[in-house]
């Protein structure tokens, strides 16, 4: 539904978005990750038609955003960064305005407003002026505006920013639920959200896409992915490491901690897919040596680690001229 090809945006000499291409189909939730200033918001602003790209093509539901913006915009619901809204209006007035601008009239408008209010849990503040709302409620009001016309496409820039943990959870579930029959792009700095809601992730760094895949695929890029850590008593860490290193599958072992009572050692397989085989091999080894195993932990890989390993080295390079 959303098709972005070779998108470039320059602000003066600064390249904010550099040759970004991706597709999002119905039923997909695309998570946009990246450090501050990576170009996430700029990309979303181009997709929603707020700013024109310097180069590249954007097609939304088959309409070219540059040549045919109005039908393209009709398909999109957009939650801009910082969730702006008209502060002098009531929540109800604002949502009515949004519905009217989307040409939803009469009874349909009443239903649309009620539905959005319910989905974003705004019943309690419906007739309150927006500038008297707390930040989280203001955010939800703008979120409600974006889904008022039940759009096929949703673009949300940090939809859970400023929400309390319960609301974050609700909004993630909402995104996931809506993702079943919409095409959704959302950006976030909260890496758990990727797992909770996304079917695909793009990591963008200094305007370029540096990773693109399912959450599982990206997680497997973690150097810890598939690793097995064991806690064993009655053996020294050196002895345990040596024995683990002798297993064929093991690429690397690390001692995590050692006390006289027990040793904790982690073994990394050659590839994350070997995890089950590695678990069996480690258990066999321990049984064979008749060591006392206290605990065994396997690692799926961590997003934050992947995120850092992809985006950090470059930023450090930049900091060190």
């Amino acid at each position: 539904m959303i098709k972005v090809e070779n998108l470039v945006k320059n602000f003066g000499p600064k390249i904010a978005v550099n040759d970004v291409s991706f597709n999002v189909e119905r039923g997909e939730v695309l998570g946009f990750l990246g450090p501050n200033g990576a170009g996430k918001s700029t990309t979303m602003r181009m997709v929603t038609g707020f700013i024109p790209p310097t180069a590249g093509r954007i097609s939304v539901g088959g309409y070219d955003m540059l040549a045919n913006p109005i039908p393209a915009k009709r398909l999109i619901g957009y939650l801009p960064e910082n969730a702006p809204s008209y502060a002098d209006m009531t929540v109800h007035g604002f949502l009515n305005f949004a519905a009217e601008m989307r040409a939803i009239d009469g009874d349909a408008r009443k239903r649309a407003v009620n539905r959005a209010v319910e989905m974003c849990m705004l019943e309690n503040v419906l007739y309150q002026t927006i500038d008297t709302l707390s930040k989280g409620y203001r955010h939800r009001t703008c979120l409600a505006q974006s889904i008022i016309h039940d759009p096929d496409i949703l673009v949300m820039d940090e939809p859970t920013d400023g929400l309390d943990p319960n609301q974050k959870h609700e909004v993630r579930n909402l995104i996931k639920r809506m993702g079943a029959n919409k095409a959704i792009i959302f950006s976030t700095h909260i890496l758990e959200e990727v797992d909770a809601a996304c079917s695909r992730v793009i990591i963008i760094d200094r305007g370029k896409i540096v990773a693109n895949g399912t959450p599982d695929e990206l997680r497997r890029r973690s150097h810890r992915a598939g690793a097995v850590a064991v806690v064993v008593s009655g053996v020294s860490a050196a002895q345990l490491s040596e024995a683990l290193a002798a297993i064929d599958l093991v690429a690397k072992v690390e001692t995590l901690s050692e006390t006289p009572a027990q040793a904790i050692v982690r073994a990394h397989p050659q590839t994350p897919e070997q995890k089950p085989a590695l678990v069996r091999a480690v258990l066999d080894l321990i049984a064979q040596q008749q060591w006392r195993i206290e605990d065994l932990r396997t690692e799926e890989g961590h997003f934050d680690e992947v995120f850092r390993s992809i985006t950090l080295p470059d930023t450090m390079k930049e900091a060190r001229p």
Binding site: K9, F11, G12, R45, T48, G49, F50, I51, P52, P69, I70, P71, K73, R74, I76, Y78, P80, E81, N82, P84, S85, Y86, A87, D88, M89, G93, F97, A98, E100, M101, R102, A103, T129, C142, Q145
Partner: protein
């Protein structure tokens, strides 16, 4: 649906005026000032004639500050609050948003002007004025306010800062007044040929507003005000396009 977009914006903006106390304060100040200029500075009673000359004469000067006060926030506020991003990603063309916001403020100014109706009653009660001239004066005044407002709309798109927007707008309007203001044209005619003076004065709102006060509805004057409005709103569009392109 395209007209619907404009009307929805007009409705929203107008409603916005009347939920804020600032609008009422503005109306009161507007009425007090028109009253003050008409009756005190304009010597309404001493003139001994049944007309609203002393009322309309001051409008170009009165509007010089009052209209930018209304127009200064039009786009600067949208930029400052980020609602411009919301508005311009709705399925409407940019010109519809510009027109809608402009019309709402124009209607607000027209309401303020309409609230001066007691002067019409007064002058009709005191004497026997030519109500056609008065009507023509009102038409001119509404057009004058519209041109000023369009200029303010343009300057409000130039900056997020309302104060800067206000000052810029006052400066431009002052120029539009002065290039046809008699003391200035007199001064100018000492150095420049009469044709030059005439051309410069043709750009002034004063020149075109005067005819309305005398009860002359000349299509050229209407065209002048319409062109100022059209040009300023078009420039607003160009500025907004530039802002979005970054």
């Amino acid at each position: 649906m395209s007209r619907g977009g404009v009307m929805t914006i007009v409705k929203r903006e107008l409603a916005g005026y009347f939920v804020s106390p600032v609008a009422y304060v503005f109306l009161v100040i507007f009425l007090l000032l028109t009253g003050f200029f008409t009756f005190t500075v304009g010597n309404f009673f001493e003139r001994g004639e049944a007309s609203l000359v002393s009322f309309f004469t001051w409008h170009p000067w009165l509007y010089l500050f009052l209209v930018p006060a209304v127009g200064m926030r039009l786009w600067s506020e949208e930029r400052r609050l980020g609602t411009m991003e919301l508005l311009l990603t709705l399925p409407i063309a940019t010109w519809q948003a510009i027109l809608g916001k402009f019309l709402a403020s124009w209607i607000f100014l027209a309401i303020a002007l309409a609230l001066t109706f007691p002067v019409i009653i007064t002058v009709n009660w005191l004497g026997d004025p030519d109500n056609g001239v008065i009507a023509s004066g009102y038409v001119g005044s509404v057009l004058l306010a519209g041109s000023y407002l369009a200029v303010s709309c343009m300057t409000s798109a130039m900056t997020r800062n309302q104060v800067i927007s206000f000052i810029l707008s006052v400066l431009i309007l002052l120029f539009l007044i002065l290039c046809g203001y008699n003391p200035v044209t007199d001064l100018l005619s000492r150095w420049a040929s009469p044709q030059v003076v005439q051309i410069v004065a043709a750009f002034s709102v004063m020149t075109h507003f005067e005819a309305f006060q005398r009860g002359i509805l000349d299509s050229r004057d209407v065209v002048f005000f319409a062109s100022v409005i059209g040009f300023a709103l078009f420039t607003t569009g160009v500025i907004i396009r530039g802002l979005r392109a970054g």
